[in-house]
Symmetry: C2
Subunit: 215 residues, 2 copies
DNA sequence: AAAAAAAACAGGAAAAACCCTGTATTAAAT
DNA sequence: ATTTAATACAGGGTTTTTCCTGTTTTTTTT
């Protein structure tokens, strides 16, 4: 087997460099480039650098995060193999990455052996899935998972939620959305019913849990 | 200079192992142990393993996190040198670590060179502080920083905030705290004034930002 | 023991939030 | 073209929240 070229994309320089060292100890692998974020990778690929055999991609990055990068890759380099490497183990993130074409999803607390195995597997079989991922996939068969799908949230409802998480009155929200206060009250009521919450604090918690807003 | 022994404590196995590889490439350093959390380190030190020259300590860990570990070390191994290695760059965390005796604080996105420099500095000078840390320290001279200090939050106020973040009415909160609704209203008013917020959603956001509640 | 400060509590009222039921208006389906 | 369904909106009422200005009670200080 000839040597496989690897790219690493991770904003934590220390991790990226360390990981490169580790991967280079695996037989047949050679880290040829490390990038600090998705944008750097995109730049490089756009300016004609050769596709690697595998990209190890972090999810949480500034500038251009893992998901955005994955989506770009899916469009412009659909055949490049990507192994997502992340600390987030929440379903939404995992599913979003898999939907965008990641061939595998590893947590950063996995054993080096498993990383090696996963890399072999992705390159040879085309995919690698841990129990975690399998479990998430199984679960996803039974339920819808993005809040938009699960609760069928409409654009206006999301806008309303965002504004309701700020310290605005419903009247102010109505003005900002150019709608009648009564319509806003309708949104509120519908959301309270759908999300099974009793007041506005429930809405804030929901918004945060489902990453509709950030703090 | 003789070889310095290093411990690494980090729950992300991949990072811990990779980092060990990197550190071993630095001259005069040898990673002799890696631990997945503070508890493992404590166990090892308690059962008589030799103190290393330096501990590279992650902050965010399950079981026993960096801060708890640091406090234990301060008590039972006050002279062991610790370099905190973290992704969190918020003032509270940094200050808490420094107060507990960490000799330096690096973000995980620092360059390997800087890590090497920091390690040299901690071992030779006894400390190493980046601009980030210096800035935080300077800032801490001017302001109080835990929400309890900064806003002088009392025990009852904190309890109230926690309950107000659930979907409870003030009347229910009053019952739960065995106080008059009017007293609760007093707490609310005082907090609104102190925190410069306009309604209950502001309270929820404040509680989350200051880690009074978690989601 | 008296004065001062802090904490608990009240009255009363306006604003906002919450809740229910029903009607135009618009968009989609047949 | 007509029914259906979704969306925007209203009336009107209850509850809760928010706000302001006090008083009593307890704790702390002197």
């Amino acid at each position: 087997m000839d040597t496989k070229n690897i790219f690493i994309v991770d904003d934590h320089v220390l991790f990226a460099r360390s990981l490169a060292g580790l991967v280079n100890t695996f037989p047949h692998y050679q880290v040829v480039e490390t990038f600090n974020n998705g944008a750097e990778l995109v730049d490089a690929l756009s300016t004609g650098i050769a596709e690697p055999s595998l990209i190890l991609l972090d999810i949480k990055m500034p500038i251009m995060d893992g998901l955005a990068t994955m989506k770009w890759l899916k469009k412009y380099h659909p055949f490049v193999k990507v192994l997502a490497l992340s600390m987030e183990d929440d379903e939404q993130t995992i599913l979003a990455m898999l939907r965008s074409g990641a061939k595998g999803y590893l947590l950063k607390d996995t054993q080096p052996d498993l990383l090696n195995l996963a890399m072999d597997s992705v390159i040879q079989q085309g995919y690698f899935h841990t129990e975690l991922v399998t479990h998430v996939l199984m679960h996803s068969l039974h339920e819808k998972h993005t809040p938009e799908q699960e609760y069928a949230l409409k654009e206006n409802e999301i806008t309303f939620i965002k504004l309701a998480c700020e310290e605005k009155t419903y009247k102010e929200i109505a003005e900002e959305m150019s709608l009648s206060p009564k319509t806003i009250d309708g949104y509120r009521q519908q959301l309270f019913d759908k999300l099974k919450i009793k007041n506005r604090t429930g809405l804030v918690i929901f918004a945060l849990k489902n990453k509709i807003i950030e703090i």
